[in-house]
């Protein structure tokens, strides 16, 4: 018989090892659907690797794909650390993108040094408000934020379609439901010539470091973690739980909003209703795979981005559906969940008499 008992604290090796093993396992499990689809499994993995490491361009494409995932991953990380279930990253992403387009397509003009921070700020504010509303409904009325943020995603997506057919529609867009382009002064600088990689990545990396410091070294971070670990005790200790939650909500929503700004002002230039292939939801996987650590988010975003970019290349070369990437991403979430269980408990073999 095997006895299971909780560990005092998971060892450092396990904390780091579990996500790595989970990610590799999820990637390995992709062999099953690949084989069922009748594809040459080894060739498929070869194409996936080539899609990420095959050229400088491929690698920068992966980095470009990782940028929004770092933002949304950080958004989920901070909220989840406070046990605030922000599942609304997808909606907040689009709120940020819409706000950026609303002010960044000619309504105001300024030199880039003013214009870019302005757009980023407005987008972050929009995302922050997008999470503040369900958090207010939670703290004031007790409405479960999981359900409200999920439903808000749909509301915001419909609102986006309305805006793209109405006020935000590009008059020169030949009737397509898309916004006018962000003016030149508002476009995030490119990092390399002839590549799509842009300054959004630098911003994301910087915010990951700031989030790490804020979470581990500041009073705010301490309050956040205290609320997440035991809200009742935090309240007893004199921490304003509701205020802390509202603060976390604004920051979390702002981060997801910045993902939207970064995509629209750094990559696409204009807004469509398919700007995000589910970056908000994938951010949750990124955060969980990172063990809710801001620096870990960077690593797991790189992994998830590699899966997506690699699977795209494999799909084009072999004709296997690129939904394989979503399959790997969801399996890595389930694997890391189980791995977390293994890391938290000690398994010892005991004889029946001993129990």
């Amino acid at each position: 018989m095997i006895r299971i008992e909780p560990r005092e604290a998971p060892s450092r090796l396990l904390t780091l090892g579990v996500p790595v093993v989970s990610a590799i396992l999820a990637l390995a499990l992709a062999a099953i659907p690949l084989a069922l689809a009748g594809a040459d499994v080894f060739a498929a993995y070869g194409f996936m690797a080539k899609g990420v490491f095959g050229s400088v361009f491929a690698f920068t494409e992966m980095l470009t794909r990782a940028s929004p995932l770092i933002f949304t991953g950080l958004a989920a990380t901070l909220a989840f650390r406070a046990k605030l279930w922000n599942i609304g990253g997808e909606g907040q992403f689009y709120l940020g993108a819409m706000a950026a387009v609303a002010v960044g397509t000619g309504w105001v003009e300024a030199p880039p040094i003013v214009m870019i921070p302005f757009i980023l700020l407005i987008g972050a504010a929009a995302g922050g408000i997008g999470m503040a509303v369900p958090t207010y409904l939670k703290t004031r009325f007790g409405a479960d934020e999981v359900v409200t943020t999920l439903l808000l995603n749909f509301i915001i997506l419909i609102f986006l379609q309305m805006m793209l057919q109405g006020p935000l529609k590009d008059p020169m867009g030949m009737g397509w439901p898309q916004s006018a382009p962000i003016i030149d002064q508002g476009v995030l600088p490119q990092l390399l010539p002839r590549m799509r990689i842009h300054a959004g990545l630098i911003l994301a990396l910087g915010l990951a470091v700031i989030a790490h410091i804020a979470l581990s070294r500041t009073v705010w971070g301490f309050k956040l973690r205290a609320v997440g670990e035991n809200a009742a005790a935090a309240l007893h200790a004199g921490i304003g739980v509701k205020r802390t939650l509202m603060g976390v909500a604004m920051v979390s929503g702002a981060l997801a909003g910045l993902a939207g700004v970064s995509e629209v002002a750094g990559l696409k230039g204009y807004l469509t209703n398919d700007l995000s292939p589910g970056y908000g939801y994938t951010g949750i996987v990124v955060a969980m795979l990172a063990g809710l650590s801001p620096l870990g988010v960077v690593v797991s975003a790189l992994f998830i981005a590699s899966v997506f970019v690699g699977a795209d290349t494999m799909s084009r070369a072999m004709g296997v559906s690129s939904y394989l990437a979503d399959l790997v991403v969801s399996m890595s979430l389930l694997c890391v969940l189980i791995g977390g269980f293994v890391a938290r408990y000690k398994f010892t073999r005991v004889t029946r008499e001993a129990t």
């Binding site: 559906s321 389930l334 969940l337």
Partner: protein, 313 residues
């Protein structure tokens, strides 16, 4: 046509019941899981899996009832996965549920694309037809509303009664409710907390999958990506609205169906002045408002979200 006129037409109420049907399956499924103490956010993905699996089975020649069986089994499979992760392993029900939703959705999409690689327009099946019951379906008003629905609507209504009866009137139902309120007491009685909770999640998930199957096998005749469109999440909101009671759940689903049918009709009335998206938003906005209204009074099953381990108090 004014508002009152709309409410008095039989086609309006027939549509309301039709729209409510998948939600009835989903709400009942979510209710069973939560009564046993397990939140199942896998519902959105299980809807998609049920929709795809049931449809594909019929497309491959299983017959409509065979398709429903396949859908239910698919739902049960994903439910079992969620049950293993959340009951004996005691992992976060939120994260596990979202993981199941992502997993079930991507499995369904990948399978559909792999099974039908080069179709441009989605292939169709012959779905459930309205049951044209002689005499009864010719009754004024009642006839079109009740007796021209498909067999799946009747199945949903029958399940409401069955779930109510099992939960409220049988020892099994009492055990399920107790395991979601006070698992220690159930354990002290010598019953298995694990088996009860896992069984409830598996059964509930099978029902959710039937809700998905209704979309491809009764409401439409084909499978589309993104066709679930938040219906699963609406069910999670409706369960809270219904205070975990099957009867109220039916009422909530019907109210929701009525509002949705109403907005479609209003759209044709005032569509010239108001963008259609305003109406599309209404169902989701209503769900949030309903949630806010009842949230403080809601009596959650006391052990909901709380993992329980044998021999550990």
């Amino acid at each position: 046509m004014d508002i009152l006129q709309i409410l008095l037409t039989d086609s309006f109420w027939a549509a309301a019941l039709r729209i409510a049907t998948p939600l009835i399956f989903g709400v009942l499924g979510a209710l069973i899981c939560e009564k046993a103490g397990v939140l199942n956010l896998g519902i959105e993905g299980i809807f998609a899996a049920g929709a795809m699996a049931g449809w594909l089975a019929v497309y491959l020649g299983a017959g409509l009832w065979g398709g429903l069986l396949v859908a239910a089994l698919t739902g049960a499979f994903f439910g079992l996965l969620h049950a293993i992760l959340t009951v004996p392993l005691g992992l976060s029900q939120h994260v596990s549920g979202l993981g199941i939703t992502l997993f079930a959705t991507s499995v369904s999409y990948f399978t559909y694309r792999t099974a039908l690689p080069d179709v441009s327009s989605p292939p169709r099946i012959i779905p459930f037809q309205p049951l044209d019951i002689p005499v009864l379906s010719d009754l004024p008003f009642i006839g079109p509303v009740l007796f021209q629905q498909t067999a799946m609507t009747w199945l949903a209504l029958a399940l409401v009664a069955l779930v109510w009866w099992v939960l409220e009137r049988t020892p099994l139902g009492m055990a399920i409710r107790a395991v979601g309120d006070n698992p220690d007491a159930v354990d002290a009685q010598g019953l298995s907390v694990y088996a009860l909770r896992m069984g409830a999640v598996v059964a509930g998930s099978a029902l959710m999958a039937l809700g998905g199957a209704f979309l491809t096998m009764s409401a439409f005749d084909a499978f589309f990506f993104g066709m679930v469109n938040g219906r699963g999440w609406i069910c999670i909101a409706l369960v809270i609205f219904a205070s975990w009671r099957p009867g109220k759940a039916l009422l909530g689903a019907l109210l929701f169906g009525a509002f949705d049918a109403f907005q479609v009709r209003m759209q044709t009335e005032v569509g010239a002045f108001v963008p259609s998206q305003v109406f599309l938003m209404i169902p989701y906005v209503l769900s949030i408002i309903a949630l806010v209204l009842v949230a403080r009074r809601a009596e959650y099953p006391r052990a909901l979200l709380k993992p329980w381990f044998k021999g550990q108090r």
